[in-house]
């Protein structure tokens, strides 16, 4: 009897463990309404958006050096690649040598790699937009700085975060990759609300 019960519990545990974890979510905008201080609300909104910004899916192509990283453990890109003058790789070994306009399922039986990521504008973020290893406050300040953000206004930032295809790749990263939390629309709404509340940054 005890053995049967133990077996049943083990089977139940296995069944529960076999269910894929639900995709990470972003808090809805309404959950920030209780923060009455506008600056504090702004910081809280950006901090929530930071779940996306600081996800390895984003950080991997925002390196502080000249080598992109890969995977949730952010290991150096394999095969070895470099940033290159135009953030598109070295002459003769550009991003486009392997990355196409869309994610591609691989035909080989590779246990750890089931698709090659791709997007029409696949490239590294310029070095002025490096995020990896920086605090969320540093990233926030940098995102607002037209000297470092590609000359974008705050409205441009909202548009970029809400609709840019390469940003959007984070939610559609291809088979075998964990997407960033929430949806691009939810992320864009957080960034928009952050700007509307004064675009305050975390410490």
């Amino acid at each position: 009897m005890m053995q049967q019960r133990a077996f049943a519990l083990a089977a139940l545990a296995a069944a529960v463990l076999a269910v894929p974890a639900a995709a990470a979510e972003l808090e809805p905008l309404s959950s920030f309404d209780t923060i009455t201080d506008e600056a504090a609300r702004s910081v809280a909104l950006f901090t929530e958006a930071g779940k996306v910004i600081e996800h390895p899916r984003c950080l991997n192509c925002h390196p502080v050096d000249n080598v992109p990283t890969q995977g949730m453990d952010m290991h150096p890109h394999e095969p070895p690649v470099v940033r290159g003058e135009a953030d598109m790789g070295a002459a003769g070994m550009m991003c486009t040598t392997c990355h196409g306009p869309e994610n591609v399922r691989v035909v080989a039986q590779a246990d750890t790699l089931t698709s090659i990521p791709g997007s029409a504008t696949w490239h590294l973020a310029p070095i002025s937009m490096a995020w990896a290893g920086k605090s969320l406050g540093e990233i926030c300040t940098q995102i607002k700085d037209p000297e470092r953000n590609g000359g974008m206004s705050l409205d441009d930032i909202v548009e970029h975060m809400s609709h840019d295809d390469l940003v959007g790749w984070g939610w559609e990263p291809g088979e075998g990759r964990e997407p960033v939390p929430g949806t691009q629309a939810e992320f864009g709404a957080l960034i928009s609300a952050w700007v509307e509340t004064g675009a305050h940054c975390p410490q």
């Binding site: 095969p79 070295a90 002459a91 003769g92 070994m93 392997c98 035909v107």
Partner: protein, 152 residues
């Protein structure tokens, strides 16, 4: 139907649009100089030129080359290709040879983009072409020799 040119010849492929370009090159067109190595863009054996730029054909759905010009080891030509061929022969670069068509396609593309590459230029451009016989030293030397030939 996907249409493109392969070494200047018109190709019309009406199979599964997700078929890798490498399959079409080898199995449909019968050009077996381009090799299947890893199938995950990690080794470079399947490198071809897509509209003049190096591309791993094993991870290239044929649908994405519609209207493009594809060149393989059988069709690569021009001054850079001739210089690379002569340098490869001169230094007896290949050992087993399996990776070499990919190596040559990458080397030709590099010289088309950077006529006189430094060691670093060569290492960066060739980093995605693996050679299990480790002919890397001869490959680098041969690219320098080809560059010198091109310089005249």
């Amino acid at each position: 139907m996907v249409t493109f040119t392969l070494n200047g010849k018109d190709i019309a492929f009406d199979g599964d649009p997700d078929t890798p370009l490498l399959w079409v090159i080898r199995d449909e067109a019968g050009l077996t100089g381009t090799k299947y190595g890893c199938g995950i863009a990690q080794c470079g054996a399947c490198t071809v030129h897509l509209d003049g730029m190096p591309r791993r054909s094993c991870v290239t759905p044929v649908s994405t080359v519609e209207g493009s010009d594809v060149v393989t080891i059988e069709g690569v030509s021009g001054a850079e290709a001739a210089a690379v061929q002569a340098a490869w022969i001169g230094l007896d670069v290949p050992q087993c040879g399996y990776c070499q068509s990919g190596q040559i396609m990458s080397a030709v593309a590099l010289l088309q983009l950077v006529p006189k590459p430094s060691d670093a230029d060569i290492d960066n451009a060739m980093a995605g072409n693996i050679c299990r016989c480790a002919t890397y030293v001869r490959i680098r030397r041969a690219i320098h020799d080809a560059a010198a030939t091109l310089e005249g």
